[in-house]
């Protein structure tokens, strides 16, 4: 047992030294966990922000101008007036996602008490934007319209003010301003952790295989399991250290995202996840034993587990069977884990089950990989 641990330690130190000797690789890793996290957190937004709106104003009345003025940042950009002939072209190129078409004589009809309608064209290819943005526009313009009509009638509509009503007291927990930065910052770290772990652990095996060094190790009193364990331990430690720095220094301190859960639990969770995913990386390396093959296998695997993890699009929107199926991916478990811990302040009792699942997944991957380890060595060149 002592010999095993000592071998793993020796090989891990060697591994870290090799990893750090590649200056460009280290620079890429640092970029990935610093600048890339900031850009991703601040750049993309799932809220309706700065949505471009165009107006075709056939009415050119005080009311139509007033309605246009009601469309305000930060949700929307200031509306741009366009000619009706231009609308199609602008929408085709995605210049505007919302186009309001105010019919001629609109104000006149409103004042007469008719109920004319404004047509709203929505670019439904902007999925995250279209639904919510339409809701916002409906309520903003509705309010503006009702205050216009009541002012025109010389006061507030009395019936409505007198009627008893339930007042909603909305309380958004964990991320009160629904800030995308909070969410994206953490999700980006998960994505980075995933890609880095997958590629480094797998590529480390393939590099040793292609250079013949792994054969050399196996002739020494070292077992395949020890080699794999050392790869996981070494790469895992470096990656977890980077991810923790990124979480606390970049996301927490620089971007101001509160971290509710405990440092210890986060560290533990990251280690378990990295163990699990590095094992998958090694398994893929065993299945695709040359560097070009491995790189190509990594791409769909990474994109699938990441895009379906419930981090980039809501897990609840997936079809039921898919939600069940994707639980086999450690990334799905980890996204839920880190959101629970960072945002919701969960403790071990809340997330212990997920940790256990990730651990078992990792051990399964590793066991399969080691079973096929020797046959991989035979398949060379």
């Amino acid at each position: 047992m002592y010999a095993v641990l000592s071998n793993i330690l020796i090989l891990s130190l060697k591994e870290i030294k090799s990893l750090l000797s590649d200056v460009i690789l280290v620079a890429l890793m640092v970029y990935f966990f610093t600048a890339a996290v900031v850009v991703a957190a601040k750049g993309a937004s799932q809220e309706v922000r700065n949505a471009p709106v165009a107006v075709v104003d056939h009415d050119r009345s005080a009311l139509s101008r007033r309605l246009m003025d009601a469309v305000l940042p930060p949700h929307f950009k200031r509306p741009v007036a366009v000619e009706s002939g231009e609308v199609q072209r602008h929408m085709d190129l995605g210049d505007f996602y919302f186009v309001l078409d105010i019919p001629p004589g609109y104000e006149e009809k409103i004042l007469k008490g008719e109920r004319p309608r404004i047509q709203l064209l929505v670019d439904a290819t902007a999925m995250t934007l279209a639904g919510t943005g339409t809701g916002y526009l409906t309520s903003v313009l509705g309010q503006e319209l009702s205050s216009f009509t009541s002012e025109a009638a010389g006061g507030t509509p009395r019936e409505l003010a007198r009627a008893p009503r339930a007042v909603p007291a909305v309380n958004v927990l964990f991320n009160p301003n629904a800030s995308a930065v909070w969410h994206m910052g953490v999700v980006q770290i998960v994505g980075n952790l995933t890609l880095l772990t997958l590629m480094l652990s797998g590529a480390a095996i393939i590099r040793e295989k292609e250079r013949g060094t792994i054969e050399h190790l196996l002739v020494m009193p070292v077992s395949a399991g020890e080699i794999a364990a050392a790869k996981i331990a070494a790469n895992g430690t470096v990656i977890v250290a980077l991810a923790l720095c990124s979480l606390y220094v970049i996301v927490h301190t620089a971007l101001g995202v509160p971290v509710e859960g405990s440092f210890g639990l986060l560290t533990l969770g990251m280690f378990v996840y990295v163990l699990s995913f590095a094992s998958l990386g090694i398994l893929l390396a065993v299945m695709a034993p040359s560097m070009p093959q491995f790189g190509l296998l990594c791409i769909p695997v990474y994109m699938l587990v990441y895009l379906l993890s419930g981090g980039t699009s809501p897990a609840e929107s997936m079809p039921e069977q898919m939600q069940q199926l994707i639980q086999v991916s450690p990334t799905t478990q980890f996204v839920a884990f880190i959101q629970d811990v960072v945002h919701r302040g969960a403790d071990v009792d809340n997330v212990g089950g997920r940790l256990l699942v990730m651990l078992l997944q990792g051990l399964l991957f590793l066991a399969v990989a080691l079973l096929r380890f020797k046959s991989m060595l035979l398949r060379q060149g």
Binding site: K17, S45, L120, T128, M199, A203, L217, V219, L377
Partner: protein
């Protein structure tokens, strides 16, 4: 072959070259007359390879002047002219060959690079292959050739363009004696055919150098002697060049003068053999690498393994070390089965593989320390053990250097040092002295003999050097997986009545081979006919691009796994992701705590239960809502509705009571949607409370464009195709350059007249074709399987895809030219393209909502532009006329990546 009379072939002046702190060449000046042959000899790491690569122009010159055939090699245009007149064969077995390509394909590729065409071309190829007796093997993959055949093929490739100066760097290292003999016969015959040709050769075999007209001896980066070989031997009063060489060297570098005296080996009776093989057999598919091999090696015996390259020596050794399991038969080490792999046995064995297998990125010292630790040498003795081998193998000088920067011979010595470090009782050494200089070899054998006789260490060694074989107690001759003969060296020689062991060995081999290999050169007429050559110009350029493309394409075709991953992986990704990624409004789970239990509160709850966007969950045991945050942690609800006591009564009293809505904000877009649902439902509820009065009329008539039924899949699938067209091509080309640098085949670019741009564009073409195939399959799958039609123009979409794939594969090449390792290449290409592709392309989040650096990143990469084309053609029903500007931007980006890559990739090595 027009060497101008009097003009030297090579003239060097004050040439100095350093690798970091190590001085490789120290003010070297040399003149080589045209039409001569020159042998370059010297110990390992004295600068032979550096000198030859500088002359060939493949290495960037640091200081001094190199003139080749009258032109200064410092100038780029001179180098490119010279590449047509000079040929260089780099060190290492078949280093410039592509292992998956056949013999004919390899040589055709070189012919294409030099623009050879017409009848002369095929005649020249046949002539060269015929002369090297490779013609019968024309369709065999280069990787499956024996070492000797590889070197002959390498030579053919180097000679394809009838060079005036031929530079060979240790061409026969690691080649068996028979192949070596054939190789030199071939070179001599080819030289006889083209009298003006100058040949420069570096070699570790001094006896080979004796056949060259000139000899240059190097030591410590300087030239010790440069003279006619005959003068050199006479001048030092030596019998042969080997003796002259030894005399020229400083005494400490001379090795073992006067030969070895080896005490006879005596086997203890009844002692168990150290190594025993019984009917050892190993098959790879239908190929039998080792065929019923049996032998016993006693403790302390030196047992030699001789045989042509690829005869099964290395496979046998791997089975002895437990790396390979035998197909049948058994191998025992110290009485235990070798493949059982117990650590006790492993500690007793030291192994050195044929190819370098230590860590390139660790220093010499670090590598040795790693071995010391893994072989469990106690801490206190570790330093002493490492110090001892540093001295014994003369590595102290380079202990802080990485093996990457060391010459072949010194790397071999390092491997030997690592194998011997832990005092094993058995040493298994696979060609340990290939590429090692004679003096170092002698020192090493001196050490081996002492180990064997004094410490009774068993030594199992394979070699191509006959003088080493003679020092073994017994040798075994292997050929095509079988043992031809096994006896003492003297016994073998006598059984063939041969003068030397080498003659005996060759006669055994020739018997075994019959007349297959080693046929004489036949017919010289074809050789004289010059091959047609389209000089410069467009046709030649296109030809070279095509040559690179064909070569890369063939390599890709031979690797069906990669094609499968690209074609199949992309489709699996498309189907799974389109099924899973969704922004469709689905019912979000909510729970209610009704502290009122009145008719009014139940009415309110019914409003929420009736919403299509919400579904109720019951929280067993947690209905009281005592700790709201904990509820969200424990249950997967997004909304908690808290109706206070007295709610109904207050409402009836005409008051406006509050209702609490707690929303889980951890996923902001979900929280926003839930909030919108709450607002809408409450507005409706309040309106109905007011009896329908003042109900807000929605002032808008909403029309969803392009995706009328508002389903994610119409938007997601075009995005997934965009993602694949960004990621896969970049990943494929990212290894393109850095892998060729690792394998050594990049030297073909350095030595050929092809430009960097031709090389890059050619490499890119097969991947563009494969990616477009993948694009077509993905589109087909979208239309037929996922029900996402191309509403606009398919051709407009295809046009965008062509540009996109060109851009992303150029980006991959740019990464490849920038990084130094393959790991960094695959990681870099993924890391740098994933953010713009997923976050800032307009795929998940609309482009116009991006801000700051994200927006810039989105616009600077082609992903967001192609997303416009993909989404436009699929969902918006657009045609090419809408994309003119977009096409232009993507094409520009592709061009910028390619130009940057071409600027980064140098046509010489450092």
């Amino acid at each position: 072959m027009t060497g101008e009379a009097g003009l030297p072939a090579v003239r060097l002046e004050g040439l100095t070259h350093r690798y970091g702190k190590i001085l490789a060449l120290d003010d070297v000046s040399l003149t080589v007359p045209t039409g001569t042959t020159l042998g370059l000899v010297g110990a390992d790491g004295v600068g032979k390879s550096t000198l030859l690569s500088l002359i060939a122009g493949v290495k960037i010159r640091q200081r001094g002047r190199v003139e080749v055939l009258g032109e200064d090699m410092g100038a780029g245009d001179a180098r490119s002219r010279m590449s047509r007149r000079v040929a260089f064969m780099p060190q290492g077995l078949g280093k410039n060959l592509y292992p998956t390509l056949s013999v004919m394909e390899n040589i055709s590729f070189h012919a294409d690079l030099f623009g050879l065409r017409g009848r002369g071309r095929s005649a020249r190829i046949r002539r060269l292959l015929g002369a090297t007796s490779l013609l019968p093997f024309a369709s065999r993959a280069a990787g499956k050739l024996s070492g000797g055949m590889k070197q002959k093929l390498s030579l053919c490739c180097a000679l394809i363009h009838s060079p005036e100066l031929l530079i060979l760097d240790e061409p026969t290292t690691g080649v068996d004696p028979l192949s070596r003999r054939q190789f030199w016969t071939l070179v001599a015959e080819l030289m006889a055919e083209s009298p003006g040709m100058t040949v420069m050769v570096s070699t570790a075999y001094i006896d080979e150098a004796e056949n060259f007209a000139h000899t240059v001896m190097m030591d410590g980066g300087r030239i010790l002697a440069s003279a006619l070989t005959a003068d050199l031997i006479a001048g030092t009063g030596s019998r042969d060049l080997e003796e002259a060489y030894m005399r020229m060297l400083p005494p400490e570098k001379r090795g073992r003068e006067g030969g070895f005296r080896i005490p006879p080996y005596r086997r203890e009776p009844g002692e168990e053999p150290a190594i025993a093989a019984t009917d050892l057999t190993r098959r790879f598919g239908s190929f039998t690498a080792v065929d019923h091999v049996s032998f016993e090696i006693g403790r302390g015996e030196i047992f030699g393994f001789l045989g042509s390259n690829g005869c099964g020596k290395s496979t046998t050794m791997k089975m002895l070390t437990g790396l390979l399991e035998p197909t049948s038969g058994e191998a025992r080490i110290l009485g235990c089965l070798a493949d059982a792999g117990s650590n006790d046995i492993k500690l007793q064995v030291g192994y050195m593989s044929q190819a370098f297998s230590l860590y390139e990125e660790l220093t010499v010292l670090e590598n040795l320390l790693l071995h010391a630790k893994l072989y469990r040498i106690p801490l206190l003795r570790r330093k002493e053990a490492v110090d001892r081998v540093l001295d014994r193998f003369d590595l102290r000088r380079v202990r802080h250097a990485t093996p990457r920067s060391l010459s072949l011979g010194i790397r071999q010595r390092l491997q030997l040092a690592a194998a011997c470090l832990h005092h094993p009782s058995i040493l298994i050494l696979d060609e340990p002295t290939s590429g090692v200089d004679p003096a170092a070899r002698d020192l090493f054998w001196d050490y081996l003999i002492r180990l064997s006789r004094e410490d009774r260490v068993t030594i199992f060694v394979s070699t191509h050097f006959m003088n080493e074989a003679e020092r073994c107690d017994r040798i075994s001759l292997m050929h095509r997986g079988r043992v031809l003969a096994a006896d003492t060296p003297e016994g073998l020689r006598r059984s063939r009545n041969a003068a030397t062991l080498e003659d005996a060995f060759i006669s055994y081999l020739e018997d075994a081979q019959g007349s297959g290999e080693g046929a004489a050169v036949s017919g010289t007429a074809a050789g004289a006919e010059p091959a047609g050559r389209s000089s410069t110009g467009l046709l030649y350029s296109l030809g070279v691009v095509l040559a690179f493309a064909l070569r890369e394409g063939r390599e890709l075709l031979r690797d069906p796994v990669r094609m499968f991953f690209v074609l199949f992986g992309a489709v699996v990704f498309e189907i799974a992701a389109s099924y899973g990624i969704s922004f469709d409004m689905t019912a979000m789970p909510f729970a209610v705590a009704d502290h009122d239990q009145s008719r009014e509160s139940r009415m309110l709850i019914r409003e929420f239960q009736g919403s299509a966007y919400l579904r109720e969950l019951s929280l067993e045991g947690d209905e009281a809502f005592s700790n709201v945050p904990e509820l969200f942690r424990r249950h997967h609800v997004k909304l908690l509705i808290d109706i206070p006591p007295e709610y109904g009564r207050r409402l009836l009293r005409g008051e406006s009571p509050e209702v609490g809505f707690h929303i889980d904000g951890a996923f902001p877009s979900v929280a926003n949607n839930v909030r919108n649902y709450v607002d809408g439902i409450m507005r409706r509820y309040n309106a109905s409370l007011a009896g329908g009065a003042g109900v807000e009329q929605a002032p808008l008539e909403v029309r969803f464009m392009y995706n009328e039924i508002f389903r994610s899949v119409y938007v997601i699938v075009p995005g997934l195709i965009m993602l694949s067209m960004v990621m896969f091509p970049a990943m494929m080309t990212a290894l393109g350059v850095v892998r060729e640098k690792d394998l050594g085949t990049i030297s073909n670019l350095y030595t050929s007249p092809a430009t960097v741009l031709q090389f890059l564009v050619g490499k890119q073409i097969p991947y563009i074709i494969l990616s477009l195939l993948s694009f077509l399959i993905m589109t087909l799958c979208a239309v037929l399987l996922l029900g996402v039609p191309v509403r606009g123009s398919f051709w407009a979409l295809l046009g965008g895809a062509v540009l996109m794939v060109a851009a992303s594969s150029s980006f991959g090449l740019l990464v490849s030219c920038f990084v130094r390792t393959q790991v960094a290449a695959i990681f870099g290409s993924a890391v740098l393209s994933i953010l713009p592709a997923i976050n800032f392309s307009g795929f998940l989040y609309p482009l116009s909502t991006l801000e700051g650096a994200g927006y810039v990143m989105g616009r600077m990469f082609p992903c967001s532009w192609f997303q416009i084309v993909s989404l436009g053609s699929f969902s918006k029903g657009l045609g090419a006329e809408s994309f003119g500007q977009v096409y232009g931007v993507i094409a520009l980006q592709a061009a910028v990546y390619m130009i940057l890559a071409a600027l980064l990739l140098k046509k010489q090595e450092k």
